[in-house]
Every structure is written in C-alpha cells, then in structure tokens.
Point group: C2
Chain length 293, copies 2
C-alpha cells in the first residue's frame, strides 16, 4: 500500500448525531489538532441542512446516498443525493488525487460503547483495528460488509472507517463519549502517521471482530406498526452473547418473544432509534478471533 496522503473526517452525516458535529467544528477551529506531518487532514460536516434542523436527514438518509461518481445525475432528486454528489466531488476532485482514508463519526442510541465499523477487510484496516483494540480494551470492532459505492460514505474508499459510539440519545452530547471519540480519532491519525513514516512496530497478532450476520425486525401488525419492544433482558446488551431461546422482545400486552436462531449470536444496534423505520430492531453478529500474519 502507498502512503496515506489525504484523510477526511466527517461529522453530522446524520444531523442529529451531535458528537461528530461538534468535534468537526472543533477541528475546523483548531486544525492543528488533526494535523500530522506526513499527510493532510480535512474536517467536514456532512448533512448541513439536517444538522441545522436537528434531524437525521431531510429527505433521505445521506449515508445511503454515496454511489460513486458513476451515479447518474438524473437520479439526483433529493437534497441528500445532491449533497452526496458535492461531498464526492470534494473528496475526489476531477483529475486530482482523492482522499485515501475517511473517518465518519456517528452515535447510536444502542449501547455500542466505543465501536469501530469496517465495511471491508483490507489488511491495513485489520492491522489498524487490532492496534486500536490493543491500546483501548473498550474498543469493539464490528464488520458490516459494504461493497465499494454501496451508499455508505465509508464505502467511497478502501480505508473507510466509522466510529460509532453509544448509548447516547439523538440531539444531545455525552461528554464521556465525546472525549472517547476524540481520543480514538487521534489514535487513528497517529497510526496513519507511523505507517507513513515506516515506524509501525509492536505488531498485534490477533483481535476480536464481530461480523454482521443479519438483522431482526420488530414484530409488526399488518399496517406495519410495531407490536413489541426490546425485552428488558436484552436492553443495552450490545456485543453480549444471545443464546437461542432467550427473550428478545416484549409485546405491549406483556408476552415474551424468544430468539429462535440455532446459534449464539452477538446483537448490536439494539434499539437504535433511526432503525425503527428501516425495519431493524437489531443487527446480529458472529464473534470471531482474527489472527494476523
């Protein structure tokens, strides 16, 4: 892999996830914080209109609009599709080198702690994930495969990383999670710097990765209205084992609904507010020990 020359940090891809918004504003005011000797770093706000309104998005989830520059202009109708096009042109200007890495800052109402989400298993991302896990045992690594140009901002380049922290409500700041996110950003930038300077050492031989298996929706009636809530026993238990037969939902009438899968899985994004409309009560994942060469 070549040197990393340009890095972009995004906040507010979702307008109601304030940690990234205020971190990016801080970096814009104090660019020295994200400046490293061997590469350029820019800090950008994602969904400007949605940030102003305190909403995830105005017309369409921006973080499902990044389809690369081959996306036909006649398909661009919403504000977010237009904004995605603008962002792509900033990150990958015509006839100029584009960014090498994207760090996209998110928060979730799920109790995902300090998570890093990878969309692919590029060897450098695996090394980075191993490094981050080793310096902070709170870091969890979640692998949610996303092909290039699949709509997600992070899918625009091989080194696309999401920092996903929670549990925090939409439209509030949690100081602890703000500080954790900030430190994780610096750790990633420092890692890039060490890589560029050929100073990476202390090779980490393995780390734990949670791999996306699928999603589970809330029980719904014929009109699509949800009929149950996340079960109290599952609440806030992201990244913990869920065994077959354990309760996952509680209906409004007090009936328990149990997990019917055959294997123990590790739910994440449990009770994420923005996923009710997407038909997702939780992701389920598989826990793996990744060994690096």
């Amino acid at each position: 892999m070549n040197a990393i020359n340009q890095v972009a940090i995004f906040g507010g891809s979702h307008g109601n996830e304030l940690t990234g918004v205020f971190l990016v504003k801080k970096f814009q005011q104090q660019p020295n914080l994200i400046t490293r000797q061997s590469f350029q770093t820019s800090a950008l706000l994602g969904n400007i209109k949605a940030i102003a309104e305190g909403r995830r998005y105005i017309e369409k989830d921006l973080n499902r609009c990044f389809y690369g520059q081959n996306h036909q202009d006649d398909k661009i109708v919403t504000y977010e599709e237009l904004r995605a096009k603008e962002i792509q042109e900033i990150l990958f200007p015509h006839n100029q080198p584009g960014v090498d890495a994207i760090i996209d800052l998110h928060t979730t109402t799920a109790n995902m702690g300090l998570s890093v989400i990878l969309g692919n298993l590029h060897p450098f991302l695996l090394q980075l994930a191993a490094y981050l896990s080793s310096i902070n045992p709170l870091v969890k690594v979640y692998y949610h495969p996303q092909p290039k140009y699949s709509g997600y901002l992070r899918s625009l380049c091989d080194l696309g990383i999401v920092i996903e922290v929670g549990a925090v409500a939409q439209n509030i700041l949690d100081a602890d999670l703000f500080l954790h996110t900030e430190q994780l950003i610096y750790a990633i930038l420092d890692y890039f710097e060490l890589y560029n300077q050929h100073k990476l050492s202390n090779h980490v031989s393995s780390f734990t990765l949670y791999k996306f298996l699928g999603t589970i929706d809330y029980p719904r009636n014929d009109s699509g209205d949800i009929q149950a809530m996340i079960h109290p026993q599952l609440k806030f238990r992201d990244f913990e084992p869920l065994q077959p037969g354990k309760p996952i939902f509680l209906t409004f009438d007090g009936k328990e609904i149990f997990y019917t899968g055959e294997d123990t899985v590790y739910p994440v994004f449990i009770n994420e507010a923005a996923y009710y409309e997407k038909g997702i009560a939780m992701h389920i994942s598989q826990k793996q020990l990744i060994k690096l060469d």
Copy 2:
C-alpha cells in the same frame, strides 16, 4: 371538591416520545384497561402530524400552545396552534362539562426515572402525589408552577398531571419505562376511583417535593452555539444534590465550569435533548418535605 367525572390521557404531545404514543394506542384498542366505574376515561394522541414524522413538533412545541378558549383565533397560524384549539374543544366542548383531570405522558433524555410533574399545588394533587410516592418509592414529584392557560396541556385544568420518564432517547421505546408508566397511570385512575367512592384511606402525612427554582443554559458563544457539555460528574444525576463549586459543564476544550449558586440545589431535566434549542441545560430545584394535614 366534586366527583371526578371525566379523565383524559394524552400520549404524543411530543411526537418523538414514543412511550405515551404506544400506551395511548394500547388504551384505544383495549379501553377496558382505563375504564373505571365512577368516571369516563378517554385516551388521545396529541401531535398527530409530529407523531407521523417522528419529531417533537412540526412548527411549534404543542405543549406551549394551550392558552384556553379565550385565545384569539387570529393568533392561530401554526399546525400546533390549530391542533391545540381542536384538543381544547374536545376536552371542553361548548355548553357541556369538560374533563376534570388530564394525564399527559412524556419521556425525557434526562435521567428523571419515574417522575410526576405538577403545575399547581391543588390539595387533591398533593394528596395524590403523596399517595403515588408512598406506593412506589421510585416516584419523584416535581413541582413546576404553571398558571392556568399558560401554554402547557396540563394547565388546562386544576388536576393536570404530567408523567415524565427517562432516561430514554427520543424515538425509541424502553420496555421498563413503558411498564412503569402504565402502572402509574393505573394507580392514578384507581386513586380517582377510590376518591369518587369515598374510599380513600391510609392517609399519607408527608412526601418529598422538588420545586422548580430556575434554569441554567449551556455556555454559548456570540452566535448562540453551545461551547460546553454537561460535565461527566453531573450526567444522569437528576434529583441528586448539587453543591456550590461542583462542576456542571465541560467545555469542548476540556475546561471545567462550576456551579456558582449559593445553595445546594437538585437539578432535573439534565441534558434533555429538546431543551438545547430552548436555552436550557437543566432545571434546578429545591427539595422540600411537604406535610399534609
């Protein structure tokens, strides 16, 4: 006081506070749950459009639009003002008896547990608050004085009560808080029934009340942008004592800001998402022991 003949339960006065929305839908489908022998109970959704969009409000906070029927029609311009007028006409139809009590269901991102908010100190409300505190030690009673027709739904009648539960993010359901809210509603309805049937006994002689003293805003710059977050040491500490000199905010640059009041106070609504735009980082209150005759 006369008998209680009509009670209205409201959910979704704020469209992104789902506990009340789904409880009201449940009561509409199973009215027997809120039926008592001696009075009529209706269950109503507040901000219909905002519920559909998963937002607190569309144009204006509905729970600041209830100014009674003397409010001039030419001042009604927003959807919420119109909806407030409709609700007032439902609750207090022309030349017919109106409701005697309103139970307005809310959630908050603050850690207010299972709270009851009173807008006035009507002797019956004090007795009710004492009773609720006695049967469930988790119940906290917060007194936020609101004159009649002051904009709040609960200000439309003397027996206006808010149930405020948290911490829960906007646009999600928390099963525990849903169940607690539901049980508290039944306890209130049962109390009304006992009162009507002259069967109230077990007089409770005192209870703890937290009385609103004022609000504290986030530190802001000249543009109105917040410059600090709730301090980690204050996070989720609603209804706990805050002594002078203790930290309340942490700036984005890591500076601590301390509480400069002269007396110990009890913050509530700490870090409520909807209050960022209202210039409120928290309410502060005074803890009082209320003795009943």
